[in-house]
């Protein structure tokens, strides 16, 4: 099985990466003649190739052949950077005719190797298509080229008091077309929902070069099948997203957060219900951190947000964020929530803190957001990004720890820590397993497919928000039935009968 995050193990990289690559005997490599043809479509500066007629320096091609983790190493000898949808269409038409594989690439910030050429496919980078096509400050509908960077779009609409409905750590590099193609989740999903709801329309170049223009700016349109949904999360295997129409919400006027210490994991779920009921529409995040993760954070200088006395033997912690329209109102709601929590007969929390300033607001978030970095310092992390029902959050973490204990692999000699944190509100658990002295095959063998199996057993998802790419193709069956996979194949076959569009991704 593949490990989910495998960014820091060069020794194993080539072998593992290699065994997962299907053979593309149906595809042709890009040759000089092809480059000559592309020169009729694109400006010379839009073609990068190591072939002699172009002779791009290897360093200039490299960024398109390696993902940001440095985990996936692509084989493309040529990269095309079209500026218009028409150019994309002409390139794809030609590639279909010549049976050249195409890897659509956005900001190259994916975590599952979905944007990297596996063999001889050409990379089609959308980065040069980066114009905002329109923004309507009344409806909040933004229409943009696929290559627009998420943060640039946020900045574009900020003066109109709108925000993008999604936010990611990679926002400075990731592109909206890539966000849509991978159905990116991120920090605002709890509040604004998924891209399946916020994307109003798409422009897509299909694998035969046809331009499918469904770039609607309408919030409601019930005229036939909603085909655009297939490309949201399609990871570029059904077509290339070239334009996106998306509904952007009004910016909140006030944000606040609280940090709570809970006696037991059992308190998390009733707490979630209470908070949801009392804060209602202003709750914008509900994040979970278990005790192991919290203590690790403290050891690495995060916090402390609460004194050791206050924390006592709390088993876990919760961060709640609000985003509302009126600071006074939101604070009143938060204070009233805290008061009712602290004075309850059977308290769900031991203690809690409410941020009183932007600095405190940031330091509460810093504890949660700093965990990823701490994990890296602890050793080599096996990281799993899964969805499981809320009630199973800590069970999954505990089951993994027990498994390692039963195998004699728990302790400083092997797995030093097993911890969980993540988005309770979204059911998205980040399970982190730390190998203190580095990755070892027997550790991985103890973890996988065990973890996939317990996730599957709880009807969970082996990929909550990162997608499948090439990394999790072989784990797809843990979350999708044979029937589902068979119908995915049929859909792929209709859209891409030649299998030229991002071949070897998503489907096993």
């Amino acid at each position: 099985m593949l490990r989910l995050h495998n960014s820091i193990r060069p020794a194993f990289r080539s072998r593992r990466w290699a065994h997962n690559i299907p053979t593309f005997s149906h595809l042709n490599s890009v040759n000089e003649e092809d480059i000559a043809h592309f020169s009729n479509i694109l400006a010379p500066t839009s073609i990068l190739s190591t072939l002699s007629s172009v002779s791009t320096p290897a360093d200039d091609i490299a960024p398109y052949n390696i993902d940001w983790m440095g985990k996936y190493h692509g084989q493309a000898n040529s990269v095309l950077r079209p500026r218009t949808t028409q150019q994309v269409s002409e390139i794809v038409k030609y590639c279909a005719q010549r049976k050249i594989g195409i890897v659509p690439q956005g900001g190259n910030t994916g975590l599952v190797g979905g944007g990297i050429s596996l063999q001889k496919e050409i990379v089609l980078s959308l980065g040069a298509m980066n114009n905002v096509r329109s923004f309507d400050p009344v409806s909040g509908v933004l229409v943009a080229d696929a290559g627009c960077i998420l943060q640039s779009l946020s900045e574009y609409i900020a003066p109109h008091n709108h925000i993008m409905p999604l936010d990611l750590g990679a926002k400075g590099s990731c592109q909206i077309g890539g966000n849509v193609s991978t159905n990116a989740g991120g920090l605002r999903l709890l509040r604004y929902g998924s891209l399946h709801g916020t994307v109003l329309g798409l422009e897509v170049v299909l694998p035969d070069g046809t331009i499918l223009d469904q770039l609607s700016t309408l919030r409601k349109d019930n005229t036939g099948y909603d085909l655009k949904q297939l490309f949201i999360g399609g990871e570029g295997t059904l077509g290339i997203v070239t334009g996106v129409s998306i509904l952007t919400p009004p910016a909140p006027q006030a944000t606040n957060n609280i940090f709570l210490a809970l006696p037991r994991f059992d308190n998390v779920l009733p707490l979630f219900q209470t908070v949801k009921r009392q804060l209602g529409e202003i709750m914008s995040a509900f994040e979970y951190i278990d005790r192991t993760a919290y203590d690790m954070g403290l050891q690495h200088g995060l916090g402390p947000l609460l004194s050791a006395d206050e924390v006592g033997d709390s088993q876990c912690f919760v961060l709640v964020e609000t985003s509302g329209g009126n600071q006074d109102h939101d604070l009143e709601k938060l204070n009233s929530l805290l008061e009712s929590l602290l004075t309850a007969d059977e308290p769900l929390i031991n203690t809690g803190v409410l941020s009183q300033s932007p600095t405190q607001f940031n330091s509460i978030w810093a504890l949660r957001e700093g965990l990823t970095e701490c994990v890296q310092k602890e050793g080599k992390p096996y990281k799993y990004d899964v969805s499981v029902p809320l009630a199973d959050f800590q069970n999954v973490v505990d089951a993994v720890r027990e498994r390692m204990i039963s195998k004699g692999l728990y302790g400083d000699h092997a797995i030093s820590k097993v911890m969980g944190y993540g988005h309770v509100g979204d059911g998205n658990l980040h399970l982190n397993v730390i190998a203190k002295h580095g990755y070892r095959p027997e550790l991985e063998a103890a973890l996988e497919p065990f973890i996939y199996e317990i996730v599957a057993d709880r009807k969970g998802s082996v990929s909550a928000e990162h997608g499948i790419g090439s990394m999790k193709r072989d784990a797809l069956h843990y979350s999708k039935s044979e029937v589902s996979i068979e119908w995915m194949r049929k859909v792929k076959q209709v859209f891409d009968p030649l299998n030229i569009m991002n071949p070897g991704k998503v489907l096993p």
Copy 2:
């Protein structure tokens, strides 16, 4: 062309309905042998048929062969009412083998003839599959059989302080499976988004009888193509939705509304922006009523909410609803909004009223909701349910009126009123054209395809929320390109190569 709402013109019914029916030479009628086979799958009480072996009285079959408007008259001689997904699967398998057309039917509250048998297809009613499968009060995820009535589901989750993310006039009869299959919009879309976002999973029986189980309860799951989206708004032409997993939001603690009179239509859009900014997350409806519609309402005894002096020469009106977590906070926000609106240098409103009691709250809504009934009293209405960009709302209404004037058809002798009202927040315009003395072919000829053309010209939708069904098949091209329709056909062909599943619907 077809008129959009054609409920009250029996004289024309048969002819118009007839010319729109395609020939199903590929399908077989249901015969005694088929009924015998169905008897092996279903209990006797689950089979209704006029064939001699069953001899159901015609009156018992009739409700399945006529829609609630009395506009569409079906031809089915048999109705099956399965109780389990397995039964649905076995029925469909048999029908595929025998090439018997199937019309999936929910609460039969559709407006476009999507649930009525056109020729000899069998009706498969989901009404007997009406169990809640599970509800998780923590996550708010409800899993229910397709035949559950929307209002029953609302009542089921109400004690847990949750509400359904959609609400419709037909809630007492419509079924959740039908809601999903038609991608029903309704009154809560502005706040909670469309079913493409709130439906987490579906169980679908495909046209070959395969059960596609994607009944996930996960909020986040990025494992491959999101096939369920095709069945949301697929109108039963790609498969039969048998189970639905849906995210239900927490119930709001407080609801309020205001009614505003505006000097000019030009004020609507800046007002929408102002309200959205000031009310933020608590705004749950923003409804538009033009002066013609308001005056008509008054003549029929609605309101008055404002005195004639207050209204003056206001050109239009807006109803704003809030749903929030704290009545004091919400009222404070509303009062502050009203104050800033009334004291502005260039006021966007002439006057306004804020409901002070549940009675006043209801009477403000009564004006908006009562318009439909008033329209019926004024004459015979041509009703168009379209989406257009917000800026074009009144332009479309005015263009239609001017058209009728230019044709000499405006006045008590022909079209007495042209008016618009609807959901500004959703871009959904209800355009009503009243034929004082009844429907006449030359009136319709003046209206259509003129209206479809101006909607298309503004990149609007000829069906904002009602779907296509059999009624608007021939108008589909006004909102979808040839390319889009071609790809819809391809998708239909993959899922239903025998064309047995709701044949003659959606696709022209």
